[in-house]
């Protein structure tokens, strides 16, 4: 990515403290991070280093203790609850570490939900949800509820739900954490294709260097601080011969 493209996301001196007084714990100790449109970033780091915390803040699911978060130049901390919800609705897709699918609800309905809040028609919802599920290799599983799906399948439903709205930014917290290596690579191909073909900016947390290798940029977290931030050249070779997925 050229330095010329405008910053999509800018974090300035972000801190996050959990708890109060004696029990207070500072999970983020001043994060500065710039993400440009179209980037594919892998976030790595040991467990407890604040990766999920920063993802939640980026996803507007949580509020920082201090610091500034600019999304396309807009200071997110100045937005009210509804404006932040609309930001999530229209620009962000989030894949949770723990799936967070609605129980007793079919894969199809789970994936349709974001579209429902966007006010799309039933036909448009059905078609888009079907396409998204096909994209993650779950065609034929539309009518299954989370309880009837394996961990990997639930993870893929969660990814389908995040991409069904074609967000500006896809935030994925360990999207391959529950998948075997074959499935993991498929998911990475998928994210890569979304990034390459649709220009969706992807931020992804992972433990595995194999998966991080797909990204052009790797940000390392240690103890609530950015430890290293390196650009790669090589990832496109991995994805080059992969077929562009359906979406």
């Amino acid at each position: 990515m050229s330095e010329a493209s405008p910053p999509l996301i800018e974090l300035r001196a972000i801190t996050k403290t959990y708890g109060e007084g004696q029990a207070a714990f500072q999970a983020l100790c001043g994060i500065d991070l710039v993400i440009r449109a179209g980037e594919f970033v892998a976030v790595m780091g040991p467990s407890g280093s604040g990766k999920s915390t920063v993802m939640n803040l980026l996803g507007c699911l949580d509020t920082p203790t201090s610091g500034h978060y600019l999304f396309r130049g807009i200071a997110v901390e100045t937005l009210d609850r509804n404006q932040r919800a609309l930001l999530r609705r229209h620009s962000l897709g989030f894949v949770f570490q723990g799936f967070n699918l609605l129980a007793r609800t079919t894969a199809q309905e789970n994936v349709e939900l974001p579209l429902l809040y966007r006010g799309e028609t039933a036909e448009a919802r059905h078609a888009a949800a079907r396409a998204a599920l096909k994209c993650v290799g779950l065609d034929g599983w539309e009518q299954h509820t989370p309880a009837e799906l394996s961990g990997g399948q639930q993870q893929r439903v969660a990814i389908a739900r995040a991409i069904v709205t074609q967000p500006l930014v896809l935030l994925a917290d360990e999207p391959t954490g529950n998948l075997d290596s074959k499935r993991s690579h498929e998911i990475m191909e998928l994210l890569l294709a979304l990034n390459r073909d649709q220009g969706i900016t992807v931020l992804m947390v992972t433990h595995e260097p194999d998966m991080a290798a797909y990204a052009r940029r790797i940000v390392h977290f240690v103890d609530g601080l950015v430890d290293s931030d390196t650009q790669h050249a090589g990832s496109s070779a991995v994805g080059a011969q992969a077929e562009a997925p359906c979406c």
């Binding site: 939640n56 996803g59 699911l61 949580d62 509020t63 609850r81 509804n82 919800a85 609309l86 999530r88 609705r89 229209h90 962000l92 989030f94 949770f96 967070n100 699918l101 609605l102 129980a103 007793r104 609800t105 309905e109 939900l113 974001p114 429902l116 809040y117 966007r118 006010g119 739900r161 709205t165």
Partner: protein, 402 residues
């Protein structure tokens, strides 16, 4: 947006059928219990009020024997004679009617039908004192009373049992060993106190009953009806002193007869019923409360799951008020449905129970509305308030809820 929220709410209800069912059940029980109990209480009160009206006001019952209630001793006490009746008629002021009564349980036969009932030998004053109207025929003539002719006036139940839909006038009934001509039919009064059927009765002239049934000149008891303006305390005092004198009781001896004021009894009775209705109401209120607590319980138990659900919805871009509208619709639909089922259930329960207890069914719109509104309010409040709290959290906090 409303349509979306409705869709989501109905989906959520269908998806959690057990929880929905339990919520509805709590409301149904609360609503049905309150309405049923209050309606039955109203019916009982009305029934007693009707009976009081049926008794006629200012009626005194005079019986031989010392006192009412358990251990009542009438065996030794002298019975009344016709002379006592005449004395009462002449010497006590402000009386409307004085009717002697000789009672006897008998089996009645007409054609192929037979029926067990009670015969009362009495005079035409009985119609006044007992507040009886004639549905057909006539009262006793002077001649029939004097001569003790075998004629009778029958109650509606006896007529139905022996003659069905046919007119019994002019037919004869065999009472014990003698045949008795039916000259009149009493207008129906319906069920009396304590399940007694007042219409299951046969009246004949006093003489007839004394001669042909009891074989003595004794009179069982006396019904005395006072004029509207008469002070019953004064009349009772006069009656007592007259009877004491006629029975030659010493100054310090107890009465060997008893004067009962039916108005007093009726008042006591209706007071009792009022207390009972209050009690029923209290029980009903408790069941409403229990139903309400049931609803709260279910709602609170599901708060964790629902809070997470709210977190998910917020995380994927739902607005706070969209989530709340969904929860509001959910609670309203469940509560209204439960309330409606409760009202319908109570209606049929009341219909059945009042029929079973021969009580009037008084539909009470007030209690139906109150019970419905109360339960619905509980349902809505306890479905909505936790949701509101959850929807005001940051999505991640809602998702982490435990």
């Amino acid at each position: 947006m409303l349509l979306n929220a409705l869709l989501l709410a109905l989906r959520e209800i269908r998806r959690n059928l057990l929880r929905s069912f339990l919520t509805v059940l709590g409301i149904v029980i609360g609503v049905a219990a309150v309405i049923t109990m209050v309606t039955l209480g109203n019916g009982a009160t009305r029934m007693v009020a009707d009976q009081i009206a049926g008794l006629g006001s200012n009626l005194l019952m005079v019986m031989p024997g010392q006192r009412l209630g358990p251990g009542r001793d009438s065996a030794g006490a002298p019975k009344f004679k016709i002379a006592d009746i005449e004395a009462i008629q002449q010497q006590v002021n402000g009386l409307k009617a004085v009717a002697p009564v000789v009672g006897s349980a008998v089996t009645l036969v007409a054609g192929t039908q037979n029926w067990s009932s009670t015969v009362s030998g009495t005079s035409n004053d009985y119609f006044v004192a007992g507040n009886w109207k004639l549905a057909a025929g006539r009262q006793f003539s002077d001649d029939e009373e004097r001569a003790g002719k075998a004629v009778c006036v029958i109650g509606n139940t006896v007529k139905k049992e022996l003659f069905g839909k046919q007119s019994p006038l002019g037919s004869s009934i065999r009472v014990k060993a003698f045949a008795c001509e039916v000259i009149g039919v009493l207008a129906a009064k319906g069920q009396g106190g304590m399940g007694m059927d007042q219409d299951d009765t046969v009246l004949m002239p006093l003489r007839t009953a004394q001669r042909r049934l009891t074989g003595s000149l004794d009179i069982g008891n006396v019904m005395v009806s006072l004029k509207d303006a008469t002070n019953s305390t004064v009349a009772i005092a006069q009656l007592r002193s007259l009877l004491r004198e006629r029975r030659k009781l010493a100054e310090n001896a107890d009465d060997n007869f008893n004067v009962m004021d039916t108005k007093q009894i009726a008042e006591t009775l209706s007071g009792t019923v009022r207390t009972m209705t209050g009690l029923l109401g209290a029980v009903a209120a408790v069941s409403l409360l229990v139903g309400g607590i049931g609803i709260m319980n279910i709602m609170l138990v599901s708060v964790t799951e629902r809070t997470r659900e709210i977190g998910i919805r917020l995380a994927i871009g739902a607005l706070e008020h969209e989530v709340l509208l969904q929860f509001l619709i959910e609670s309203v639909v469940l509560s209204a449905f439960g309330g409606l089922v409760g009202v319908v259930l109570a209606f049929f329960a009341c219909l059945g129970l009042t029929a079973l207890m021969s009580m009037p069914f008084l539909f009470n719109p007030g209690i139906n509305l109150t019970a419905f509104a109360f339960s619905a309010a509980i349902g809505v409040i306890f479905g909505y308030v936790p949701a509101r709290r959850a929807a005001q959290l940051d999505p991640i906090q809602a998702l982490r809820h435990e």
